[in-house]
């Protein structure tokens, strides 16, 4: 059995985002990067399945992006993936989901993966497209927004999360792709011995130009902060002072305090 996990590296969401020189995406200066939260659930679910099946499946983790994404691949290897694939692209931020999906699908085509795990969405781009498009391009069956996953005898049962907490239970035959939602599992922290072991694992590098022959379907045209519609008060400075000011406002505006 062969399994692929697709992960993206994204900035820490508590960073301050500013436009870069192109004006259409954020500047990476002073940014700390980490693995997209949704993709950590994808890694964890794949590793758990491998453990459950007695270590038989081979887990490949793929990330498309500049050289910094190798850090993310290393984390996935330390969590239990077997080999890494770095699709090298120093301008991945300018690729649209269609192009990224096309490149990933091209890399997967000869590999005959039985299962592919991706995140539901990336935290920076948030298009929720890449996983599903990869499935379409490979003609895999696909279920999105998984909060429950089970595998048995070539078919997977996925609990999909719908609005209001309702769930839909669906079954797919492999080959299948599943996009992972928050809370699917509790991703493990890589242990030191596993980090050491991961250093010996293979990471393949493929230039994106070998995989991608598609033009973008969208043009990026701007990156900016949302227009502030809030008329809210901002309280900064000394804590004791903030407390007094807030109590004053609550007395004035809510009638809950006397």
């Amino acid at each position: 059995m062969k399994i692929l996990v697709c992960i993206k590296q994204v900035p820490d969401m508590e960073s301050r985002f500013r436009p870069d020189a192109s004006g259409v995406w954020y500047s990476e200066i002073d940014m700390a990067f980490r693995v997209n939260e949704y993709d950590e659930y994808a890694i964890e679910e794949a590793v758990r399945l491998k453990e459950k099946l007695g270590g038989e499946p081979e887990l490949t983790v793929l990330s498309l992006g500049p050289d910094r994404v190798v850090e993310g691949i290393k984390k996935a290897l330390a969590m239990g993936c077997d080999r890494g694939m770095h699709v090298q692209d120093s301008a991945s931020q300018l690729k649209d989901p269609w192009q990224i999906a096309s490149a990933i699908a091209a890399s997967a085509r000869g590999e005959n993966y039985d299962l592919i795990f991706t995140g539901l969405q990336s935290q920076d781009r948030g298009s929720a497209q890449v996983g599903t498009m990869v499935a379409e391009l490979l003609e895999y069956s696909c279920a999105t927004t998984a909060i429950g996953f089970e595998y048995a005898d070539g078919s997977v049962t996925v609990k999909r999360e719908l609005e209001g907490g309702l769930r839909a239970v669906v079954r797919l035959k492999t080959p299948a792709l599943v996009t992972c939602q928050l809370g699917l599992n509790q991703p493990r922290y890589p242990t030191l011995p596993n980090i050491m072991k991961a250093k010996k694992k293979e990471i393949l590098t493929i230039p994106v130009s070998e995989l991608l022959h598609e033009e973008p379907r969208t043009v990026m045209a701007g990156f900016y902060a949302p227009a502030k519609k809030g008329t809210g008060v901002v309280l900064e400075g000394d804590v004791a002072d903030q407390v007094d000011k807030l109590i004053g406002i609550l007395k004035d505006k809510t009638g809950l305090l006397r």
Partner: protein, 305 residues
């Protein structure tokens, strides 16, 4: 301009947010044609063409078949836009349609711009503008970004069919109800909610102490529930409870759209966050820029006096 609006049914009923599609079509502006996998007794309240595919044949949770129906309607109508909501149905179906047509998809549109569309990014902290290349364009709309419009009138019903051979690749086994609520946050006058910014499970007690001091209940964002810091009955948001207390205090909550959807109608909103640019600031009446673990105990102590 013509827009094919994909309405959404659950348990045979049209979901109310489907009417936001009309609000969007009016802003484009574009003529609206509707497609629904549903049943004849439950058609959208609008004039104009409504394509209906029978839910008994195509199912409610069978995206491969729904994709084929959408592609059939696109073939007939040649729309400029194919529009869905950015819901669990829409984000699941839209990329299948876009890939099927090999066209652009823009996700979670929040506004129509002069020369393109405005989309949120970076966990709602920022916006970007994108222009589609080619036609048609597949769009999903952020829930609540466009007004609900019920055009009224009698639909001109057209049946539509697509190949249901092979049944599609996703087999629907059934719905499962949401986890039980536990606490009824809907009745609380005051809710103090904990977000990931509280740092660890033990700190829930600090949030609960403030809730007690204000005579309210404890709420939580999703990661707090997912991490097992509090049980699911406390979750506020699209997949938790929708609340509108007189006072909502968000402690260490960034303000993701799915959280905001559950609490933005609260009477008065206070946010405590160390990040002045956190999107919760958009809806907060007061944003206290501080470390929750310093500010909240100080506030509780002062209220106790």
């Amino acid at each position: 301009m013509k827009a094919l609006l994909i309405a959404e049914c659950r348990d045979g009923k049209i979901l109310d947010y489907s009417y936001e599609l009309f609000g969007f079509a009016a802003q484009l502006p574009a003529d609206a044609v509707v497609l629904l996998v549903g049943k004849e007794g439950e058609l959208p309240e609008c004039g104009g063409t409504v394509y209906l595919a029978d839910v008994a044949k195509y199912g409610e949770c069978n995206p491969d078949l729904h994709k084929r129906v959408v592609l059939a309607a696109v073939e007939r109508e040649k729309p400029d836009y194919v529009v869905l909501m950015h819901s669990s149905y829409g984000w699941d179906l839209a990329p299948r349609v876009a890939a099927g047509l090999k066209v652009a998809q823009l996700s979670e549109v929040v506004a129509v711009a002069e020369d393109g569309f405005e989309l949120p990014c970076c966990s709602q902290k920022m916006r970007r503008k994108a222009k589609p290349v080619g036609s048609p364009v597949v769009l999903t709309l952020q829930l609540g970004a466009f007004p609900v419009v019920k055009p009224g009138g009698a639909p001109a019903l057209q049946r539509i069919d697509a190949d249901a051979e092979g049944e599609g690749k996703v087999e629907f086994l059934g719905y499962e109800p949401p986890p039980p609520k536990g606490v009824d946050l809907g009745r609380a006058e005051v809710i103090v909610s904990a977000g990931r910014g509280i740092g660890k499970k033990e700190n829930i007690e600090v949030i609960a102490a403030l809730a007690r001091a204000l005579g309210g209940e404890v709420g939580a964002s999703r990661p707090v529930v997912d991490s097992g810091w509090i049980d699911a009955g406390h979750q506020v948001g699209t997949t938790g409870q929708t609340v509108s207390p007189k006072l909502y205090v968000a402690c260490g909550i960034s303000g993701a759209i799915q959280h905001l959807a559950g609490m933005k109608k609260s009477g008065f909103i206070v946010a405590v966050n160390k990040d002045k640019e956190a999107p919760i600031g958009e809806v907060a009446d007061v944003l206290v820029v501080a470390d929750v673990m310093q500010f909240v105990p100080a506030l509780t102590a002062k209220l106790a006096k």
